[in-house]
């Protein structure tokens, strides 16, 4: 879209992100390809067919929205907009924002999906911890931190994805609502929150067990030191008895 390095959209605080246009041959691959077509007649069947063909690459069921003379398409890693020039910039910004949210949700879903095998392994220590699991406490802590990171990422985009209807409505706000609905963003976020709740409950319990185990281990160590000292004293007494018995 346009010249390389051009700022397409500046995402609001606290996201602090910018959508920047890249050239197709750029070393850093673009996370989202955006096709922006200024056209006064968005109902042109041939143009729509060509854009559909472009958007369908890699997408099983690309989404299409027609709204107030603008055509918007959404596929896997690709989005396209056909609209009159006067509306194009607002729609580009909207698509860039949505692309960020979609990518964030997708990334969180993927990361969380990778945690399931670990979760199954870590469910046991949430109830009872043994020595071997205690040795893995750094890994448990690391997973908990990663989960908190995912929760933070999700919470950060939440106000923008679950935003109420804007009044008075604009073209961008209405298209945004429809696309979010089509992409099931709110539903996916709800599912992610429920999954994160389960993960956090388990790792929170693991953390409690690890703390208890560490505390009891320190207590045991002190007891063991006392036992060693007593054993040393007993050994001296035993030797005295044995020597007397020997003589």
């Amino acid at each position: 879209v346009g010249a390389a390095g051009r700022i397409l959209a500046e995402l609001p605080f606290p996201l602090n992100r910018r959508a920047i246009a890249l050239l197709s041959g750029d070393a850093t691959p673009a996370e989202m390809e955006l096709l922006s077509v200024p056209f006064e007649n968005p109902e042109d069947a041939e143009l729509i067919a060509r854009v559909r063909e472009w958007i369908a690459v890699g997408a099983s069921a690309p989404q299409m929205i027609t709204f107030q003379g603008a055509q918007l398409f959404w596929g896997a890693g690709r989005a396209a907009v056909i609209a009159p020039q006067s509306r194009l910039t607002a729609l580009e910004v909207l698509l860039a924002e949505l692309a960020y949210f979609e990518l964030e949700i997708g990334a969180i879903e993927k990361s969380l999906g990778g945690f399931w095998p670990d979760l199954e392994a870590d469910a046991g220590p949430a109830f009872e911890l043994d020595e071997r699991t205690h040795r893995n406490r750094k890994k448990l802590g690391e997973r908990f931190r990663q989960l908190l990171g995912l929760r933070a990422r999700l919470t950060r985009i939440l106000p923008f994805v679950q935003t109420p209807h804007v009044y008075p409505p604009t073209l961008a706000s209405q298209v945004s609502e429809r696309l979010r609905e089509r992409l099931r963003m709110e539903h996916r976020i709800e599912i992610l929150q429920q999954q994160l709740d389960v993960f956090e409950r388990i790792y929170d319990a693991c953390g409690t067990r690890v703390s208890e185990f560490t505390a009891s281990k320190k207590g045991h160590l002190l007891e063991m030191i006392i036992i060693v000292m007593l054993a040393a004293q007993t050994m001296l007494v035993l030797f005295e008895v044995l020597t007397i018995a020997r003589n």
Binding site: D130, R132, K139, M235, F239, T243, R246
Partner: protein, 363 residues
């Protein structure tokens, strides 16, 4: 997981042991490095317990099962040590408390202690180190030794005192060597689940080793300036029987420094890759170290006892005076070479050994 550095160090200990035993038992010559083999052996056994338990953990064997196997192996070694005394040193020396009974006991102890922090194990070692001279004083060490050899009555007090303090290789202070070996192993070798990608530096091991050597030298230097009875009862100079504080600290230092240097040179920098023959020999000898220990005793003591029975007044008549060093020395070298060839064949053909018997019985 095998570490070539451990194989090399153990082979050195075995070679020294064979040479020292042949020279001493056949010719009555006590050679200067006589006290090096057993402590190295004991240190490496502790190191090996760590590596072995890690491999069992990697196979998914539970801590409880590992403990049971370790206890069984320890008891096997203990019983083997007693049987060895009866069969090789003759029944009168049943309770002379040699290295096998000590390593067996250490294995049982480490089966229970291995999960504890290294700092605590070091504390146990310090207590054993401090206690040992006082136990010897309490037990009147000299009264258990006649003409430089351990003589024990078969009474419960004598047997227990010998096992703990006055035998050849008693628990106090010898158990320090396997425990320190285990501590060194715990520091260097980790579980894959511990999440340490880079190997740890051996510098702390070498530093501790140098400190132990410095303590040993320091004790040796100040000994003469110390008031009685410290030089005669506590700081006794470089003696293996009893294992004096200088000897224990000196050997700990030698073991830690030599292992640290060899681990870097051989395991990490692969210095011996161009001489695979050496690695082959050391691996074979290390793999069959227990069998070598038993076999070399049988090879040189049984003929001595038989010859004494046939041509002397008692079985032990020619002990220490059977032949000159010019004969016993080459015999020792021949024994080492023969063992090397024999065990290579045993490995190739998977013949049973004492090690395989232990695994079959205990694992």
């Amino acid at each position: 997981m095998r570490y070539a550095s451990i194989d090399v160090l153990r082979t050195v200990a075995i070679a020294l042991m064979i040479l020292v035993h042949f020279l001493e038992n056949l010719s009555g010559v006590t050679w200067a490095p006589a006290g090096l083999g057993a402590p190295l052996f004991a240190f490496l056994s502790g190191l090996n317990i760590r590596i072995w338990t890690l491999s069992l953990e990697a196979k998914g064997i539970t801590d409880e099962a590992i403990r049971r196997i370790a206890v069984r192996r320890g008891l096997f070694l203990f019983v083997l040590g007693i049987a060895f005394n009866v069969l090789v040193w003759l029944p009168s020396d049943t309770f002379n408390w040699d290295v096998l009974t000590m390593i067996g006991t250490a294995m049982v102890a480490l089966a229970f202690l291995r999960g504890l922090p290294s700092g605590f194990l070091a504390f146990v070692c310090a207590v054993v180190f401090v206690l040992s001279p006082f136990l010897r004083i309490q037990a009147d060490y000299a009264s258990h030794w006649t003409n430089g050899y351990f003589e024990s009555e078969t009474t419960l007090p004598d047997v227990l005192i010998g096992y703990l303090s006055t035998g050849y290789i008693p628990l106090f202070p010898w158990i320090i060597f396997p425990i320190v070996g285990h501590i060194a192993g715990s520091y260097l070798f980790h579980r894959p689940t511990d999440g340490e990608a880079t190997p740890r530096s051996v510098r702390p091991l070498v530093t501790y080793g140098v400190c132990f050597l410095a303590i040993s030298v320091f004790l040796r230097v100040i000994r003469d300036a110390l008031p009685d009875p410290i030089p005669t009862k506590l700081v006794m100079g470089w003696t293996m029987f009893p294992a004096s504080p200088e000897y224990v600290t000196g050997l700990l230092g030698i073991a830690l420094v030599s292992f640290g240097i060899l681990h870097v040179g051989i395991d990490r920098r692969d210095c011996l890759r161009r001489v695979p023959a050496i690695l082959n020999v050391t691996r074979t000898m290390s793999q069959y170290s227990l069998t070598v220990y038993l076999l070399h005793h049988i090879l040189h003591l049984w003929p001595l006892w038989i010859y004494g029975t046939l041509f002397g007044t008692e079985a032990t008549e020619f002990w220490h005076s059977a032949m000159p060093v010019a004969v016993s020395g080459p015999l020792a070298l021949g024994c080492f070479a023969a063992c090397s060839v024999l065990f290579r064949q045993m490995r190739r053909r998977e013949w049973p050994s004492v090690e395989s018997l232990m695994r079959w019985l205990c694992d």
